[in-house]
């Protein structure tokens, strides 16, 4: 249960963004991706999640271990918090949502509809979804956006517990979560593509 990425190139809209990305993430460890806006952090995560194909290179990750959380939380405005969470629990074949509710203090909001939540509460619900999936390898894109300080601390705790139980995570974030020695920071600026060029074969699908 570990992620091996070697010599990976990713592209968006036919332009290569990152080249030669190589890293490993072992069980119990986290990798934090850094880099300026527009560098390709989201594209890299989407490629790892299997939403798009790598331009070159290989990604080795057992698919049944991974779960992806993007910019948007996928919360349905007309479903309640419980219904939203139970849906993902059923999709991933797990049953209990209690632990996730406790971790993110969502128990009081259970019967509130998704549309009535604040931005921070939505994010907390989105992160609670990760726990509900029961997957070991988390891929997170800006997980702390719109969280207040207390929630960021809760999130860091959740990551720590997750890592301690043998899980691992790769995330793009700009803030310091204080994860200590288990987290490695990778600055993606070093892998910026030097020859941004359009690929004729891709253009047909734009």
């Amino acid at each position: 249960m570990s992620l091996h990425v070697s010599n990976l190139s990713v592209s968006r809209g036919g332009r290569t963004l990152l080249e030669g990305v190589t890293f490993d993430v072992d069980a119990g460890h986290a990798l934090i991706l850094r880099g300026p806006n527009g560098l390709g952090k989201t594209t890299l995560l989407r490629t790892l999640a299997g939403l798009q194909k790598p331009e070159a290179g290989t990604v080795h990750l057992p698919e049944e271990d991974a779960v992806y959380a993007g910019h948007l939380d996928g919360i349905k405005a007309t479903l309640t918090v419980r219904e939203n969470l139970m849906f993902w629990a059923r999709v991933f074949g797990t049953q209990s949502i209690d632990r996730a509710l406790r971790t993110f203090e969502l128990s009081d909001l259970l019967d509130r509809s998704g549309g009535m939540l604040s931005a921070g509460q939505k994010r907390r619900l989105g992160l609670a979804r990760l726990m509900v999936t029961g997957r070991k390898f988390w891929m997170l894109d800006e997980p702390t956006v719109s969280l207040d300080q207390a929630s960021v601390a809760q999130f860091a705790d959740m990551i720590r517990v997750h890592l301690a139980s043998g899980g691992s995570a790769i995330m793009a974030t700009h803030i310091d979560l204080g994860l200590g020695a288990d987290a490695r920071v990778l600055d993606l600026s070093a892998f910026r593509a030097t020859t941004p060029k359009l690929h004729a074969s891709e253009e047909a699908f734009l």
Partner: protein
């Protein structure tokens, strides 16, 4: 997959889910036609099967862009695509949910609206049968169109243009089956053709829908 179906049905039933939209549109079309055509009952009852079929088809078309667009906008489509559900399963469930919330209500209400058009007595069975056989094909083809246009802002027009030609065979055989049945003619050929179209698109199109969905999520 059952969970996804239940969720989609629930979303459709809740406020703003668009459950009544197609039904209301169907009702309006069928109610307005007699005003436009005039009160001549013999003419109305002759064109009734065709009117019901065209109305049902347009009502179906109206709700297609919601199949994937809403899930795309709030990010759940990305999450679903990376979940253990196969893409083929997702598009199939989406088509089933669309049929249950759009196609089936149209089938149920069609005989009631048939009264407004003076549909002959023997026509009720055939209009229900033909819609019951044909509307699943409309949902499956529509899901394919919706998968093709997901991610395009205001993709509704493009979706209609793409899907309409694909709807034509279903319309021809569906309306023909209803017309022949109503007039007491032999119905074997259009019945088999309609059932054949529905079976073929249900068996094949989910794979195409899943493939274009994967491309569009890149």
């Amino acid at each position: 997959m059952i969970a996804l179906l239940i969720r989609d049905l629930r979303l459709a039933m809740r406020a703003g889910g668009g459950f009544g939209l197609s039904l209301a549109f169907f009702l309006i079309v069928v109610v307005l036609v007699p005003f436009g055509v005039g009160p001549e009952m013999s003419l109305l009852s002759r064109i009734a099967p065709g009117i019901l079929w065209v109305g049902a088809l347009l009502a179906c078309l109206l709700s297609l862009d919601r199949i994937f667009a809403l899930d795309y906008e709030d990010g759940s489509l990305d999450l679903l695509a990376t979940s253990p559900l196969p893409a083929e399963g997702i598009v199939t469930v989406k088509a089933i949910a669309h049929w249950l919330t759009t196609g089936l209500p149209l089938v149920v209400i069609a005989p009631v609206l048939g009264i407004l058009l003076g549909l002959p007595e023997q026509g009720y069975f055939w209009i229900v049968l033909s819609l019951l056989l044909g509307t699943p094909a409309l949902s499956v083809i529509g899901t394919f169109g919706a998968a093709l246009t997901v991610g395009i802002k205001r993709g509704g027009l493009l979706l209609s243009l793409l899907v309409l030609p694909l709807y034509v065979p279903t319309l021809i055989y569906g309306a023909e089956l209803a017309r022949r049945g109503t007039q007491g003619l032999e119905t074997g050929t259009p019945l088999l053709m309609l059932a054949g179209i529905t079976c073929a698109v249900t068996a094949l199109l989910p794979f195409a829908s899943a493939a274009v969905l994967r491309i569009n999520l890149r």
